[in-house]
Structures are given as structure tokens and as C-alpha cells.
Symmetry: C2
Subunit: 303 residues, 2 copies
């Protein structure tokens, strides 16, 4: 099953040439989820050839501009380009008001239903679920209310062993039942148990998105053992005071969090515009957690 | 005196790769005026090496997203980058509410004064004046309230004739008075009239910005004889019905307006995303008004 994330923006609040504010496109089994939507996100989608109309769910972590100022433009373009299928939006309660007022004054009547779910930032809740994935919030600790998001692949049914299908001439219509635990009885009346005809499905994978937050152990349990963690790393550790003051994390701290949470792989992003070169942030992070990568525009990571 | 306009964005509402929504930077004698501020404008400023902190006045024509969605990001970045000098903003009355609500929820307290002037869209009014330039609104005819802007260079004092200064040994401190009309009396008591010691200043130039509007003769008098006219040309003339329906202008109509208004030079812009190639729009426009040019990102036009 496809489960990957494409970085659309990696910068923090002030602009820097060639980096965009935060946004990511998650592809879960060909369903598109947009996480945050900084200014210019719709152009980034175009740039990387990602079809915006395929996005059905948008998650906004908090109401600092670098995480949502591209939203009204994107919603408006989807409308102008003829969207009629519903779009589901998850974000802080005040987001509704911000959108409503702008569509009111531009006299925009969306052709599609925009279904908004206000999310709480104080406790973790499940906000979405489909056949493939569960989405839960991760309460973070920022200057304003802010949540991360955890996308957990559901445990799949076991896989049928193809050789057994051929050898025992198992009819195709029996396979889903066997996967669900039913035994198979062949023409001679021999009974084969489901567990002998199947192998365990792949380990269900988890992606956690944490931006923006001060380094804290409060959300450590929520991200424990995830396969891929995106964590903000706005500053290097020589600016630890500035990071604390602005409720951000340093690249060293991001590595430490990944280590403590025992994640498999770490992406860092949300880089301050003061850093033209990002390698030093990565190097610092790797001293704590070697399996770390930089969020760079257009790059795709498998979960 | 410097008087030029740099195109920061030339596209209309829906995004297209390599074009940005509407914004222009006007330089009048080294004072920077920003006209409209579509999504991504702050990045365009960076891209073309224009120092955003030098902008002291921003004019917003109307509240369709492609003309203002970059504003909150720009205001916020100026704040984060330490601006303390006041910024003057002119736009529809509702713009104040749109900005306030977003700064309220992001808990942003601007370090600088943002001085907002609500502009009327029903009559032309003078909204700004300094030593060099007068700015007036141009009521346009769009789906929502919309104004263009006219920047008129002020008539300068006459220029002193250098040869006369030398020949008559006119003291430096007398020159400003002579320019203002005072006579000069030399040591022998001979009187020289101001008009004989000076030549007329250059013709004061005018730039008019008209976007978005249906083609109409209502604002023709306001743009009569301007040196440089920017006019929207969202569609080609084979989409005249669509233009009328959406209160936009075709490239042929833009040329006709320029011709009727007897302007010196025309720039067309605000191109629909359906046009990947823009030359056909220019060719169509030129059949009416040959001295026409395409608004293209980064291009600078002298007024």
C-alpha cells in the first residue's frame, strides 16, 4: 500500500527564496491528505505535478500564518476549477471564522461542501478514519494552541499464500473468507486452517507530524515507535534560548526526541530563514539520531 | 525623477505555474508603493531583489483573493523582521476586519503602526499625497466593489538655466526663490524675471492601474491621456460573453479603452490560467492599440 509524504514547504514564518512555508501532501493508498497549507501551497502543488482536486482532507495544525495562509486561495481555486465533491477540513475552531469572513467579502459561494471539524488542542482525539488509516491529533506546546497529527495505517488482513491457492485449487471467492479466519475444506473433505494458508500482513506503519512546538516530553508517548516522524527544528542548538522563548525546537532537540521516542526515521523542517545552508542543522540532529533527513521542497519520503 | 512599475504578478484567480496573482511595485522617486498583494507576493519581492521593508504604502483594489491573499503574510513578515516605522494601507473597509481577525487568532501584536484608510468605491477620491505624487482612486465596475488607482506626478518647479546662473553670478540661495517666481536683481540693479531664467519642468507623468473591471466607459475620463495604463485583459475576445459574465475585460477591449483614453502606453495583465501562451492576447490588443505590452513577472516599465 502506498504511504508516503511529499514536502511542499520547509520554511518557518519569514520568507526565504527557494523555500516555502509549511505544507505536506500525504498519500495513503491513493487518498490525498494535505497537512498545513502555508502561503503558496497551491503553487507548490502545481510545481510538483500534484493534482489539487484529489485532496479530500486538509489538516491545519494552528493559526500562525505560515501554516494556513495558503488555505483560502486553495479552497477558492478548487471552487473556480469546478469542484463539487465535499472537502473535509480539520483545524482550530477559529479557522471557520477566518474562512467565512473572507468568502463573505469576496462574495464566494463555494460549489462544494466544505465540511469543517474543529479540533481540540488539549487532548488527543481521533478525528478521521477510513478503511486504511486512522488520524489522531497530538497536543503540542506552542505559543498558541497547536496540534500535530498522527496517521496510523490499520492492521491489514493476513496475505494468502499463492502457492497454497494453486496447490489446493482454492476458489477465488473463498480467499477473502480465509483471510478473515475461515478454514478451507477441499474436495476430499480435508480441513486447512486459515493460519496455515496465510502469512501476517505487513506491519502497519505510522507517520507523525509535529510542528510547531517547544521540545517537550509531553507528546513523547503519542509518537513512540512511529515509523516516520516529522518534527520541527527551527533553530540550531546555539539558539536554544531563542527556541525556548518562541516555543520552537532546535535540531539537536529534534534528534533527542526521535531517539527517546524510538522512531525509525526522522525528518526535520520548519527552518528559520536565517539558515541559508541546512546541512549544519542536519549534522547537529544526526549527532543524536543518525537516521535523520532534511525536509526539502518536492522530496518524497516513504512511511 | 524615478517613476517606474515592476510587475510582481500577472495571473488571475486560479493558479498557473510560473505566473503569480496580481501585485505591482511602484517606485516614485525612491518611495515604494505596493499595488495589490496576491498570494506569494512576499516571495516575488524576494525573487526580484526588492526590499519589502522599503514599502510604506499598500493599496488593495478589492477583496477577491488573487488581489490580497498575500497581505497578511507580508504584514506579518515585516513585523517579524523588526519593522517599527508605520505602514499605510488603503483598501475596502472590510479589509480591516479580515486582517484584525487573523492577527487576533495568531496572537500577533504588530510592532509597527498599521494605519488603515478605508476607501470608497463609488466616487474618485484623493487618498494620498506627498511632495512628488498624488494618488486617487478610480471607481471600476466589477462583481464586488473595486477601485483602480491613479498615481499623478506633481508639476515640478521650473528648472533654472545653468548658463544664466554662471553669467549673472546668481547666488545659490536665490535659486529656489527664482524657481518659485521671484525676480533676480543683479549688483547693478538690473531686474531679471523668473520666466527668463528658467525653463519649464518635465511634463508630470501619470500611471493608472485598472484591475478588475468589465470594459466600461465610466472610468474613461479618469484615465484620459495618462502616460502608462495598466489594464486587465483576463480573456481573449472570443470569450467576450464569459468576460461580461464575470465582469472582466478582453484583450481587444483593453486596447480599445487605451485608444479611446488616448493613453501613451498600455500594459495588459490579469491573464486567465487557460492561456499558457500570452502572445495571442498581446497581438489581439495591438490590433486596437499598437503600443501595448504584456505584464510579465519581474518586468519593469518606466512611466
Amino acid at each position: 500500500m502506498k504511504f508516503d509524504v511529499t514536502i511542499l514547504g520547509s520554511s518557518s514564518a519569514t520568507p526565504i527564496f527557494n523555500r516555502n512555508p509549511t505544507s505536506q501532501l500525504l498519500n495513503v493508498n491513493e487518498k490525498y491528505f494535505l497537512i498545513d497549507c502555508g502561503e503558496g501551497t497551491q503553487n507548490q502543488l502545481l510545481r510538483f505535478g500534484i493534482k489539487a482536486p484529489r485532496i479530500d482532507h486538509i489538516f491545519i495544525s494552528h493559526l500562525h500564518g505560515d501554516h494556513y495562509l495558503g488555505l483560502v486561495g486553495l479552497l477558492s481555486s478548487l471552487h473556480l476549477n469546478g469542484r463539487i465533491k465535499p472537502l473535509y477540513l480539520y483545524g482550530p475552531p477559529q479557522l471557520q471564522e477566518i474562512i467565512d469572513i473572507q468568502f463573505k467579502y469576496s462574495q464566494t459561494q463555494l460549489r462544494y461542501s466544505l465540511i469543517f471539524s474543529a479540533i481540540r488542542s488539549d487532548i488527543s482525539t481521533k478525528i478521521y478514519e477510513n478503511y486504511d488509516v486512522i488520524v489522531e491529533t497530538i497536543p503540542l506546546d506552542h505559543r498558541i494552541e497547536c496540534t500535530g497529527f498522527k496517521f496510523s495505517e490499520k492492521k491489514r488482513l493476513p496475505k494468502i499464500i499463492k502457492e497454497k491457492v494453486q496447490k489446493l485449487e482454492i476458489p477465488v471467492d473463498q480467499i477473502p473468507l480465509i483471510k478473515k479466519g475461515a478454514p478451507f475444506i477441499d474436495k476430499k473433505g480435508v480441513v486447512y486452517l486459515s493460519k496455515d494458508l496465510t502469512t501476517e500482513a505487513d506491519h502497519p506503519k505510522v507517520y507523525a507530524y509535529c510542528s510547531d512546538t517547544i521540545c517537550s516530553w509531553n507528546y513523547l508517548s503519542a509518537i513512540q515507535n512511529v515509523d516516520l516522524l516529522y518534527h520541527e527544528a527551527t533553530f540550531m542548538n546555539d539558539m536554544l534560548d531563542r527556541a525556548a522563548e518562541t516555543f520552537h525546537t532546535t535540531s539537536l532537540q529534534a534528534g533527542e526526541i526521535a531517539l527517546k521516542a524510538n522512531v525509525r526515521k526522522l525528518i526535520i523542517g520548519h527552518f528559520s530563514a536565517r539558515y541559508r545552508e541546512l546541512e549544519p542543522l542536519l549534522e547537529e540532529c544526526k549527532t543524536m539520531f543518525p537516521n535523520s533527513f532534511l525536509a526539502t521542497e518536492g522530496q518524497k519520503f516513504e512511511v
